[in-house]
């Protein structure tokens, strides 16, 4: 299984990429997937607390399962308006 992972704003600039197709194993939820990303991109940990997450364009909690999800987005706290 692979999921499409998307990063935005400071997260994308920090990681140096915006979209990637990733095999999430062994992560089974969104929080564990973020931890995987931080392992391979240590700069992401400098941003402080964990970002927000959305699965298939809907806000989710960190324990949201990845099973059946096509796209996981990691999002800084929003600042539109």
């Amino acid at each position: 299984m692979r999921v499409e992972v998307r990063l935005f704003a400071s997260l994308a600039e920090c990681a140096g990429w915006r979209v990637a197709s990733i095999d999430p194993a062994p992560a089974t939820d969104v929080g564990a997937l973020w931890d995987l990303l931080v392992q391979s991109n240590p700069a992401l940990s400098r941003l402080g607390s964990r970002p927000l997450a959305a699965c298939d364009r809907t806000w989710v909690e960190w324990n949201h399962p990845i099973e059946g999800v096509r796209e996981v987005a990691f999002l800084p706290p929003v600042s539109g308006g």
């Binding site: 935005f8 704003a9 400071s10 700069a43 400098r46 809907t58 987005a73 800084p76």
Partner: protein
């Protein structure tokens, strides 16, 4: 009516499109790009959106606003990309038969938009750029090696 657009928001046109002869009240909120933030002079802003989700979230807010208030129409428009000082970044326009629901729906829609819609602004100064992230304004310098949390905003 939901719009995420790179061209300037034409506010008068928005409310002419919304309004019907049975509406007696139009409430409107505009966010405008300011020339400074915490004493630092801003040259312009750059807005980035998670486009597909932002449009979906704005549509959900539109539906919720209709569900909560006795209004005829609500428009949510947000601009993305580079925006100059004095330009409108966001517009909420509500048309309703009466004023109380118009005013309350307008406030609800802008508060929800600011809380939930995945859009981020970057302030551009003469000597750098800063992402504004969240109400608490955790600021992240562009250069990863300079990334830090603004102690005033923690």
């Amino acid at each position: 009516m939901v719009r995420l657009q790179t061209v300037p928001i034409d506010v008068a046109r928005l409310w002419n499109e919304l309004r019907a002869d049975s509406d007696g009240a139009i409430a409107q909120f505009l966010g405008v790009v300011r020339d400074s933030n915490r004493g630092r002079r801003v040259l312009h802003l750059d807005y980035e959106a998670f486009t597909e989700m932002a449009e979906a979230e704005m549509s959900r807010i539109e539906r919720e606003t209709h569900g909560r208030f006795a209004i005829s129409e609500v428009a949510l428009a947000h601009r993305v990309g580079r925006i100059e000082i004095g330009e409108v970044s966001v517009a909420i326009v509500v048309a309703a038969p009466h004023r109380a629901p118009a005013l309350e729906a307008c406030r609800f829609a802008i508060e929800e938009l600011k809380r939930r819609v995945p859009i981020w602004k970057k302030e551009v100064f003469s000597d750098g750029e800063i992402w504004i992230e969240g109400a608490g304004e955790r600021r992240v310098e562009r250069n990863p090696s300079a990334a830090e949390t603004d102690p005033d905003q923690a």
